[in-house]
């Protein structure tokens, strides 16, 4: 009775436009735009600035559409967790159908605009990345396996591939390595956070690794993903795809990442108060990704 009393008037009122903006998770978009832009800038040929801008816009809109569809599907678990309880749908500020229509509409818009402005190969990868995030990650795997975040990372790894494809119309070794880098970077990044942030994922029935397998197993998994991540980050240099500036920067940064992961592996703390290494690794992981991609673009534009 109480739910009906709360929901009826809220859904009768049209949602505020700011709540549609909130559905697109604007903060997550920053990283997506940055890595997509870097993928575009390291492509072997230049792109017309207007078309390049449009391609980045489409990547951002596609990510926003995927986020909106994610929030539509996950409204039930969002309502159970403190961090997500105030999102537009669980808070009753928006009807679920409005979010669904917004997400589907924005998905079609972003893919079609990408196809018209650049090429249909880039549009196809954009479509695959949206479908992958919504269907494979959100619907299929998130609630079923503690490796869910690994799959979510694959969805987040698409932007440099799309940025590159928007320019060239194909993919090559370098963008695939950038894809691998973000893909392998996501688990250590996210698991470090989930170790020290006491989240109520368990209440919502989402099998997060630290909850399901414990802190020790999570720390081992962090190390296991960091090793191939470092290889993917440095690989473009020996393969001759970048210069020494990138090679040295990526090596130093990856070595620091490995050292911080090792500190996490050695840590035995089970309470957030004793998790300084995890906090350091998490903070550094964000800097790491921006720095490696920044070095890649600098290497291409300043050195060559």
């Amino acid at each position: 009775m109480t739910t009906a009393a709360i929901e009826a008037p809220a859904t009768a009122l049209p949602a505020d436009w700011r709540d549609f903006l909130a559905l697109t998770k604007p903060r997550v978009m920053t990283l997506v735009v940055f890595t997509g832009l870097c993928g575009m800038l390291v492509a072997p040929v230049p792109i017309h600035p207007v078309l390049g801008f449009t391609a980045i816009l489409c990547i951002a809109l596609g990510a926003g559409a995927a986020a909106a569809l994610n929030m539509w599907y996950e409204a039930d678990i969002d309502a159970l967790m403190k961090r997500t309880r105030s999102r537009p749908i669980p808070a009753g500020r928006m009807a679920p159908e409005a979010a669904l229509q917004f997400g589907v509409g924005l998905s079609f818009f972003s893919v079609l605009l990408m196809g018209v402005a650049t090429n249909w190969f880039a549009a196809a990868i954009l479509a695959v990345s949206i479908l992958f995030y919504v269907l494979v990650y959100t619907v299929w795997l998130k609630r079923r396996t503690p490796q869910n975040i690994v799959i979510g990372g694959a969805a987040g790894a698409f932007p440099p591939l799309i940025g590159w494809a928007a320019v060239t119309g194909d993919v090559a070794t370098l963008p695939v390595l950038l894809f691998a880098l973000i893909f392998l970077w996501t688990p250590p990044h996210f698991w470090a956070l989930s170790l020290f942030v006491r989240s109520d994922y368990a209440n919502a029935g989402v099998p997060m690794l630290p909850v399901v397998a414990g802190a020790k197993a999570t720390r081992i998994q962090i190390m296991l993903y960091t090793l191939p991540m470092a290889v993917a980050a440095v690989a473009p240099w020996p393969l001759g795809l970048t210069g020494a500036l990138y090679g040295i920067a990526a090596s130093v940064l990856s070595f620091a990442f490995l050292a911080l992961s090792l500190a996490v592996l050695m840590n035995r703390a089970t309470e957030p108060a004793g998790m300084k290494p995890e906090k350091r690794l998490f903070a550094f992981s964000i800097l790491y990704l921006f720095a490696v991609f920044g070095a890649l673009v600098t290497d291409k534009w300043l050195v060559v």
Binding site: L13, P14, A15, V50, L51
Partner: protein, 42 residues
């Protein structure tokens, strides 16, 4: 308690303004894309 007509009108107006701005931006963007594509063809 039902939302007042005034509140509904206020929300609709806000959404209409944002939609108008986005459409205007889209028109400019499509124009710019067209010019850019014509430049590439020649």
């Amino acid at each position: 308690m039902t939302p007042s007509d005034e509140e509904i009108r206020r929300r609709q107006k806000g959404r209409a303004i944002v939609m108008a701005l986005l459409l205007a931006a889209f028109v400019v963007l499509v124009y710019a894309i067209t010019i850019a594509k014509m430049g590439l063809a020649s």
